[in-house]
């Protein structure tokens, strides 16, 4: 059942050390909580431990999925999308007229999107939701005969679909994109990358986690310049900058010690920097949404830290990471100049010409 084509040795070591570090930090959190005379705020420590625990769970499930095959990983991400999106829609008010649209948005589009990602059909999965999905949502709500707050409603539903499904689906797309290249100084050009593709996905997840963690700790310890107190009282510029640079350092270290990506050492650091900035933007955006809905410390409806909070940072980082990597190292191989020989395909392409 298990098959390690998606993970090579450095990737497995990275995974194990990541889970170990998270487990140690979780243990430290538990220890700090037990000590009653500790000066650190109890709630902060509890939030920290809870974050660590949910990251551990997520990492272990992702690792199991990666060990099986691409299909399981895609299903895993679909399920995360599903859960995040239902939380998102629950938090945003919709009207009864939106019901049929929501059915499409929660059950039909996400499944179609992940099937296309699994099929590696880039031309379609890269536009399915931004083009077909967003127009469909607007039209379907118009057909439902309820115009109140129309623009606001379509914006909410489209945004949920875009963030929870479209953006996140770019994480498993790292596994299905064909081909990845790497720079080879001897050949003086790009050569096909031989590494296991799971490494790229793992790199993304590890950097996002690390960045979130540094951001959290720096905010709580010496964050002074609060970015937007109305959105979040403690998120600070120090946190964003420290997270970005610490991530860049970790990116460099990962590529030096455990090369899991096709990047060069400097490139890996730059990529980690981009991921970290996107992760910070993602969690900030999620807080703005929650504050707008008046959910400061989570309402009663979505308990504790929902899936949505946990993945907001990955959702923002994944598409940018995918596209930047694709821009530099994912050039499609130009097919040999040969006429299309499949008769059926040729026939279909000719139909419009006959009509004209």
């Amino acid at each position: 059942m298990f098959d390690f084509r998606l993970l090579d040795q450095p990737a497995i070591i990275l995974l194990l050390s990541n889970v170990t570090v998270l487990a140690v930090l979780f243990g430290v959190g538990r220890f700090l909580r037990k000590r009653s005379e500790s000066e650190i705020d109890k709630d902060v420590v509890r939030a920290f431990s809870r974050n660590m625990l949910s990251w551990i769970v997520m990492c272990v499930v992702l690792a199991l999925a990666l060990m099986v095959n691409v299909l399981f990983t895609v299903i895993f991400f679909w399920f995360v999308s599903f859960w995040a999106q239902r939380e998102f829609i629950t938090l945003t008010p919709t009207r009864p007229g939106d019901h049929r649209t929501l059915f499409w948005v929660i059950l039909v589009f996400p499944i179609a999107q992940y099937v296309l990602v699994g099929m590696a059909w880039y031309e379609l999965y890269s536009i399915l939701i931004p083009v077909y999905g967003s127009l469909f949502v607007a039209a379907r709500i118009a057909f439902a005969n309820d115009q109140e707050g129309f623009l606001e409603r379509i914006a909410k539903i489209q945004f949920g679909l875009l963030i929870c499904v479209y953006a996140l689906s770019h994480a498993p797309a790292l596994l299905t994109w064909e081909p990845w290249q790497t720079w080879d100084s001897e050949a003086g050009g790009l050569i096909p990358w031989e590494g296991a593709k799971g490494g790229l996905l793992l790199y993304l997840v590890v950097i996002v986690q690390f960045s979130d963690m540094v951001h959290f700790v720096v905010d709580r310890t010496f964050g002074k310049q609060v970015i937007a107190p109305k959105v979040h009282e403690t998120k600070s510029w120090e946190g964003v900058i420290a997270a970005a640079f610490a991530s860049a350092v970790v990116g460099v270290l990962i590529q030096l010690l455990l090369p899991v990506t096709p990047f060069q050492v400097i490139g890996s650091g730059a990529m980690a920097l981009i991921i970290s900035v996107m992760a910070s933007s993602g969690s900030m955006t999620m807080w703005a949404i929650k504050r707008d809905r008046g959910i400061a410390r989570q309402g009663t409806l979505v308990h504790n830290r929902g899936v949505l909070d946990q993945i907001a940072s990955i959702c923002f980082a994944a598409p940018i990471f995918f596209h930047v990597t694709r821009l530099f190292l994912g050039r499609p191989v130009t097919p040999p100049a040969e006429e299309a020989t499949e008769p059926l395909q040729t026939l279909i392409w000719q139909i419009p010409w006959w009509i004209c």
């Binding site: 829609i89 629950t90 019901h99 059915f103 929660i106 059950l107 409806l301």
Partner: protein
């Protein structure tokens, strides 16, 4: 057969409703209870029943409208699976009173799930309660009356829709109450309604 269908139905109901169950000043118990809840969706009874712990679920019977649940083989089968107590809303007569029927059916073993509003409310406001709850506790004062607030069910399956949309919902179970001696019908029904209303903000 039920050994397979009950867990399957429960799993589907839980997945579709994403329900979290909260006990506030109330503990799960297999004593005889009447869970009374606000009614906003056809799925209310099913989801509340499915979310209860297994031992309690086994002895809890939702009270449901006969005209809805006998229509079509699927509904009829489902009402059999969750052991629903079907009440004929059209033919309520003195010799055929639903209260007597409930009391006969539950004996000394079963608990009930009732929706005292009678039918589903369309907006978030609860309708005035029907008097059944009062007469039930008048005849069986030993039953614990447990208020339940169902949040967000109406968005999962609103009135007039047939496809559920899987959102997240929350079930809050509050502290038990009883009919006080000498309490009038209106006062009691008002108090019961308030008990659910209070759970909304917890």
């Amino acid at each position: 057969m039920k050994a397979i269908t009950i867990p399957a139905l429960v799993a589907i109901a839980k997945l579709f409703s994403g329900a979290t169950l909260r006990w506030v000043d109330c503990q799960p118990d297999t004593c005889q209870r009447v869970y009374f809840a606000n009614h906003t969706s056809h799925l209310d009874a099913l989801i509340l029943w499915a979310s209860l712990p297994r031992q309690i679920r086994a002895i809890t019977r939702p009270v449901a409208a006969k005209d809805y649940w006998v229509r079509g083989p699927i509904r009829r089968y489902m009402s059999g699976v969750f052991n629903a107590l079907l009440i004929d809303r059209e033919k309520i007569k003195v010799h055929n009173s639903p209260i007597n029927m409930m009391i006969n059916e539950i004996g000394n073993e079963y608990s009930l799930i009732v929706f005292p509003e009678g039918s589903r409310n369309t907006d978030n406001e609860m309708r005035p309660f029907k008097s059944g709850l009062y007469y039930l506790s008048k005849k069986r004062p030993d039953l614990e009356l447990v208020p339940v607030f169902l949040n967000n069910m109406n968005r999962i399956m609103p009135k007039g829709e047939f496809l559920p949309v899987p959102l997240v919902s929350c079930i809050t179970i509050g502290p038990p109450m009883w009919l006080e001696t000498g309490e009038s019908k209106n006062d009691f029904l008002d108090r019961a309604r308030q008990a659910i209303e209070k759970l909304r903000d917890l």
